[in-house]
């Protein structure tokens, strides 16, 4: 028997299945919390921090990621306050400056309201969301790839840099990778990266209906949990 708890997210009383995360409960209900490293069928590690929400406990609010926070009876969550929006925008700005060359990352930045990027662009090939590592480890139990190195040196690699025999080249890691989605053809050519703002129409949509999931095209771009399901 599934047990249910009552959670209050952005003022809406939601009946959620015990054991699910706040992010899953919110998406299920149609409340949009932007996210990147979360994939519905994979365990969450809270790496991208985009899905931050305010968790109000005894009048004090803690900022925490909704993907790692499990629902509990009587919980009060705010997903769309000014503070959260600003923090999320700053995070998305860091993210898009790191890897502007993917449609997924561009869409996330747009969804989070990034209009200008104040850092020099870097054209990294990986944002270390860990989707590939988790799908390989948790779904296929292959452990053919993993994180190597610490801090700035952290990257995804085979053990000792050589493809092991137990990598069946199933390609799941590529499928879940947000960096494989080609960037929008207008801006972001290597060497002349900028946010062109041509997706203004979609940006307006994101601005106007910030907390309701409208099955936006952006979500398709950044492989929102809703599209994966």
């Amino acid at each position: 028997m599934l047990q249910h708890v009552n959670v209050n997210i952005d003022g809406a009383n939601i009946r959620a299945v015990r054991g699910t995360s706040v992010l899953d409960a919110a998406i299920e209900y149609g409340i949009c919390i932007p996210h990147l490293c979360h994939v519905p069928y994979l365990p969450d590690i809270g790496a991208c921090r985009l899905c931050i929400v305010e968790h109000v406990v005894n009048g004090r609010s803690n900022v925490t990621t909704s993907c790692t926070l499990n629902v509990e009876e009587g919980m009060v969550i705010l997903t769309n306050t000014d503070k959260i929006r600003q923090l999320r925008r700053n995070l998305a700005e860091l993210l898009v400056a790191q890897a502007p060359n993917s449609r997924a990352i561009q869409d996330i930045a747009l969804r989070c309201g990034v209009k200008e990027v104040r850092y020099p662009f870097r054209n990294e090939d990986c944002v270390l969301c860990g989707r590939c590592v988790r799908v390989c480890t948790e779904v296929w139990r292959a452990r053919a790839i993993g994180f190597v190195g610490r801090g700035k040196e952290r990257h995804v690699d085979y053990p000792f840099g050589i493809r092991p025999e137990f990598c069946k080249q199933c390609g799941n890691c590529v499928q879940v990778c947000p960096m494989t989605i080609p960037p929008c053809d207008g801006p972001m050519k290597p060497g002349e990266e900028y946010l062109c703002g041509k997706c203004e129409s979609q940006l307006m949509l994101a601005d106007e209906t910030p907390d309701h999931c409208v099955w936006c095209k952006l979500g398709e771009g950044f492989t929102c949990g809703r599209y994966v399901q």
Partner: protein, 617 residues
């Protein structure tokens, strides 16, 4: 030694050992801590031991190799009882004199006594020295009479009596109540109330629980945990046993970094000795309490000092933090309830049990009780480990204990709490060492590092140093810590190299706020503190770097030029020989000139010049 089966047997052993030691008239205590070892105290120990045996004194005189005394700068240090004579900077050649004069006749060798650098006075005993006088050494004072490799020493000094007290008479709930009443807060940095942690862990569901001692101290300049674990491992073990009994744990771990070989060795010996005596293992002292401790060595990652990363590392996985939405007291090591405390926190427990909560609470301030060990380093006269009551003003620590600035400079700031702490300016020196007050001021007590800086330190460069450290030590799991710190460092590097723009300061501030609110673990959350606190108190220095392209302290290489004052230069040519880049030219007895194109700003010429003719602008 036979296994002890009841607390009477332990008391009997204590009596027996005390009787045995009555014949000893003189004790020579030499510091064998890492600090003094580095100044070759092992040679001194060997020399004294040889000297004692050649003079036939090895039966009546006891040579005790102790843990750290705290005054590492003066090492190797030695104390001779009776008389409590304190010798510093002892060399092996002094052994003969020490044994034949001080040990045999009780005469004091003035040459080896401590001379105060401030007043020039000579002091004979530890208690008179200004460095020790203003301290309240509850934990560190125990180091000076105990050989860390000898459980007998610890038992003679009254050790394990707190354990017997709780095993035979205090219910676990009452222990927790006592700890809660004492107001003890975690000494590792967070300052979480220890009693509440224990209570939550005791109440957490599950039979299998763990206690962990966090000895993975990684802050640059802080070494108080090493000193306590190295100098008095049984005290930490006793604290852990009491904690384990209180929360219902049967297994404990000491997670100590491998860079502390002496701490690893001493804690291993301590665990073996305690097992042999039956103080660890099944049915300790004949009671129903069973508990064992293992020593785990850490690879030296800074992030493994964070509680969840430490537990993951202990499980044998890569040491990366986990989200802490469920606390470790419920979901900790192997997903079992776990109480993790710092070395110093555990070491405080036995004396709270013995002397009562009110004794402990009588020291300190409203929110922070007891004493705290601080690692005092930097540009001051006396450096070393300092233990003061909570609430002692920073000025007392820096000026009374530390003796003030060296070279007649002005003290500018103090950096407290290691890389996660902040810098406080001189006008904040009246603030007390208190968890809440320092956090409010933008810094923290943290693990207790205290780095004093004078006017030769550039605060932007200090922030850059800590960011470089943190960028290097960040595990890289979450975006704000990995990329955020990297971007902050990028901006600060721009500022120190003269490419800074004013709006970058606002960006830096905004980014720092974002990182501190959104990072996954405590390391990331506190990583922007050095930036935020220097921005708060030393904003003018940032602005000078940006607007005037000048480094006021003359540290940031891109913004300074070396030049020779022709009036002061005597043309001696020492700088020419010192300069590895051949940037200095000039004839004999003629003022020299630095070629700014060739000059690499290494500063060798400046330190070589006897006439202070080389200046920085």
């Amino acid at each position: 030694m036979p296994r002890l089966n009841s607390f009477r047997e332990l008391e009997h052993l204590r009596e027996l050992l005390r009787e045995q030691r009555q014949g000893i008239t003189t004790t020579v205590m030499v510091c064998g801590g890492t600090g003094c070892q580095a100044s070759r105290s092992q040679d001194v120990i060997d020399a004294v031991r040889d000297e004692l045996s050649t003079q036939g004194l090895d039966q009546s005189v006891r040579l005790c190799v102790t843990g750290c005394h705290g005054f590492c700068e003066q090492g190797p240090v030695m104390i001779i009882e009776p008389g409590n004579v304190f010798y510093c900077h002892v060399s092996p050649a002094d052994a003969f004199e020490i044994v034949s004069q001080t040990v045999m006749k009780g005469e004091v060798i003035e040459r080896l006594l401590y001379t105060d650098p401030v007043s020039g006075e000579i002091f004979q005993t530890e208690a008179e020295i200004p460095f020790y006088r203003s301290q309240d050494r509850q934990l560190l004072s125990k180091n000076r009479m105990i050989d860390p490799c000898s459980i007998e020493d610890y038992i003679v000094a009254g050790g394990y009596s707190a354990l017997t007290k709780v095993l035979y008479g205090v219910a676990p709930d009452n222990i927790i109540k006592e700890i809660e009443l004492s107001g003890l807060r975690g000494r590792g940095g967070g300052g979480f109330p220890t009693g509440r942690k224990w209570k939550e862990c005791r109440e957490a569901p599950g039979d299998e629980k763990y206690v962990i001692c966090n000895a993975d101290e990684g802050d640059p300049g802080a070494y108080m945990d090493r000193c306590v674990l190295e100098g008095n491992p049984h005290l930490v073990l006793e604290g852990m046993m009491i904690g384990a009994w209180a929360i219902g744990a049967r297994k404990g771990y000491v997670y100590v970094r491998n860079e502390y070989p002496l701490a690893v060795k001493h804690s291993r010996i301590a665990v073996e000795q305690a097992r042999e005596l039956g103080l660890l293992g099944k049915n300790i002292l004949g009671s129903s309490f069973s508990f064992d401790v293992d020593i785990a060595r850490g690879g030296g990652a800074f992030v493994c000092g964070e509680s969840t990363a430490l537990m993951v590392s202990l499980e044998g996985k890569v040491g990366e933090p986990r989200p802490k939405d469920v606390h470790t007291v419920i979901d900790g090591l192997y997903h079992k309830p776990t109480t993790l405390n710092n070395v110093e926190t555990w070491a405080n427990v036995p004396s709270i049990i013995l002397n009562g909560a009110s004794w402990f609470a009588s020291k300190g301030t409203e929110g922070s009780k007891g004493t705290k060990i601080l690692a005092l380093t930097g540009r001051i006269k006396n450096t070393g480990l300092v233990e003061v009551a909570m609430g002692t003003p920073i000025s007392t620590v820096v000026f009374d204990i530390g003796g003030g600035a060296i070279d007649g400079n002005m003290i500018k700031a103090v950096q407290t709490g290691g890389p996660s702490g902040g810098c406080l300016p001189l006008d904040k020196f009246d603030l007390p060492v208190d968890f809440d007050v320092l956090s409010e001021a933008g810094s923290m007590v943290g693990s207790g590092g205290m780095v004093v800086m004078d006017e030769s330190s550039c605060m932007v460069d200090v922030a850059k140093y800590f960011l470089t450290f943190l960028q290097d030590e960040s595990c890289g799991k979450c975006l704000p810590c990995r990329v955020g710190i990297d971007r902050m460092l990028e901006i600060i590097t721009d500022i120190t190299e003269g490419r800074g723009r004013l709006e970058q300061i606002d960006l830096l501030e905004e980014l720092a706020e974002t990182v501190s609110l959104t990072a996954l673990c405590g390391l990331g959350k506190t990583a922007p503190n050095p930036v935020l606190s220097t921005l708060r108190y030393f904003r003018s220095e940032y602005e000078a770097h940006i607007n005037e392209k000048k480094c006021p302290a003359g540290v940031c290489k891109a913004l300074i030029t070396y030049w020779i004052d022709p009036d002061l230069c005597t043309g001696c040519g020492v700088c020419v020989q010192g300069c590895v880049h051949q940037a200095i030219t000039g004839g004999k007895k003629q003022p020299h000139v630095i070629d700014t194109q060739l000059c690499q700003k290494c500063g060798i010429c400046r330190s070589e010049c006897k006439f202070d003719a080389i200046l920085i602008t």
